[in-house]
């Protein structure tokens, strides 16, 4: 069973509401009929085997891809805003400030020709910060939090290992203090030892900052460690969802039972 998360008293209103999301690729189902609510500070995991529609769903939720049906609404101030009915530039700006996206491949989330400090600082400039000293100080602080030595601040990401690039991407996303973070297989391409380090870092950051997150993973141990709630996908559909430890320890759907038994004591 998972450790007690450091959470604030439950909020009254959801941060994100998702209703009937569908994404077709021609005749092929990417994902279909997905609905859920996400509350501030909550961490939702999406699990399922390769091709089950996890990435497709995440792209729709995060505004990267437009669903063929359904609604995604995000709480802005007091209002729930349909993210696909607002003008494109507004959505783009939200994607950089109110929420953040951690891509599986750090190269998709980083500017490879810009220094580590620049990658982090750029996000503060997006928010309107123009004070060079403060931006650099903040970038340094974030590099430290993701365990990248401050002396590497002027190096480019391509001089970093895969694990460091991923940590830099996380710093770049978290520096703008998003209320919601989307992550697609954040530890995907990394060695097991590097994964453990990154996972612990994510666990602590998500907990201490109280941000909500949607994390796609095929690794049930990762889901157990990081998430409060789990959605299990198969062939584009959600077959089971609930409290993470409940879904993993007492799975009800045939497919979830198969998944859970494949990884003993995940």
């Amino acid at each position: 069973m998972s450790p007690a998360p450091l959470s604030l008293p439950p909020a009254l209103e959801p941060l994100l509401t998702v209703d009937g999301i569908e994404r077709m690729y021609g005749d092929r189902v990417g994902c279909r009929d997905v609905s859920f609510r996400l509350w501030p500070g909550e961490v939702l995991g999406i699990v399922g085997e390769s091709g089950s529609g996890k990435s497709t769903l995440l792209r729709c939720l995060s505004g990267i891809d437009v669903p063929t049906a359904g609604q995604v609404r995000f709480r802005l101030d007091r209002e729930l805003v349909d993210i696909f009915s607002i003008p494109e530039p507004t959505r783009r700006s939200l994607m950089r400030t109110a929420w953040g996206i951690v891509h599986q491949n750090p190269r998709d989330g980083l500017r490879m020709d810009v220094s580590a400090g620049g990658n982090v600082g750029e996000r503060l400039m997006d928010r309107g910060d123009r004070h060079y000293g403060r931006i650099r100080g903040s970038a340094l602080d974030w590099l430290e939090r993701v365990e990248i030595a401050g002396e590497r601040i002027d190096d480019r990401p391509r001089q970093f290992s895969g694990g460091m690039q991923q940590r830099l991407q996380i710093a770049r996303v978290l520096v703008s203090q998003p209320r919601l973070v989307f992550m697609d297989e954040p530890t995907g391409g990394l060695d097991v030892s590097v994964q453990a380090k990154l996972l612990d870092l994510l666990r602590v950051l998500v907990r201490d900052l109280g941000i909500a997150a949607v994390i796609v993973t095929h690794d049930l141990a990762v889901a157990r460690l990081l998430t409060d709630r789990l959605m299990v996908m198969k062939d584009g559909h959600v077959v089971e969802q609930g409290l993470t430890d409940q879904v993993l320890d007492d799975p009800h759907h045939a497919y979830t039972q198969l998944l859970a038994s494949a990884v003993l004591s995940a």
Partner: protein, 232 residues
């Protein structure tokens, strides 16, 4: 007496979809109430469903029928129908579960593991550290281990970390699944004392104890699960 936990008509059958949808009936129509200060010990031979019941009370397993009402913030919450974030909130402040296994978190030190639930409840950092240290000392865990993650500790050492974490700031309801299983006599005595202290503070306890002597020292009441055994 204040009722802290009430199980009503709890039944559980596992449906094993990948074994030809075999149905494994375990519990049928279990009902009981636990009041503040009581320690109910679940009895019955191995395989009766003691752990299954405890997990249902914690919201970890879903019963096939029935409800589990838990006193949380002065009102009764049904852990079976509560949504996930309510269940997590009830667990954070009201409902503690201790098994014989520590679920280790990579890279987190023993001291931080023990401090963690207190910090989650808003206990000040310094206070949490002091209480964590006192509890680890009381459970005779050598101080040189406190700064290390328990991944490499022996079974008994890990179990003591788990007990320290769970008893350092006890919740009003404690669910204990053989927490003394691999402890020596001295540490078992500490656990018996810790449970008594928690009860004295008004905690309601539901527990499973393999050791007959421990069971007799802790129980204020026994619940024999063989009487609720589902027909196979």
């Amino acid at each position: 007496m204040t009722p802290m936990l009430r199980a009503e008509h709890v039944s559980k059958a596992f449906v094993l979809h990948n074994q030809d949808a075999a149905v494994l009936p375990v519990l049928a129509d279990v009902g009981f109430t636990v009041h503040a200060g009581e320690a109910v010990v679940l009895a019955g031979p191995s395989g009766t469903g003691k752990s299954t019941l405890l997990r249902i009370l914690y919201g970890n397993y879903r019963p096939s029928t029935g409800h589990v009402h838990v006193s949380h913030d002065g009102r009764m919450v049904d852990i079976v129908t509560a949504d996930p974030r309510q269940v997590l909130e009830v667990r954070r402040r009201t409902l503690g579960y201790v098994s014989q296994f520590l679920r280790v978190i990579p890279r987190v030190s023993t001291l931080d593991i023990v401090r963690d639930p207190m910090l989650g409840r808003g206990v000040a950092d310094g206070v949490a550290t002091r209480r964590a240290r006192d509890m680890l000392a009381r459970l005779n865990l050598p101080e040189r281990l406190w700064t290390l993650p328990p991944a490499t500790f022996s079974g008994g050492e890990q179990q003591r970390v788990n007990i320290a974490r769970s008893f350092v700031d006890t919740t009003p309801i404690l669910l204990l699944d053989e927490p003394t299983a691999s402890l020596d006599a001295a540490n078992r005595d500490v656990v018996v004392e810790l449970v008594a202290d928690a009860r004295a503070r008004g905690a309601a306890v539901v527990g499973i104890f393999h050791d007959e002597a421990v069971r007799d020292r802790i129980a204020t009441r026994r619940l024999d699960l063989t009487t609720f055994k589902a027909a196979a």
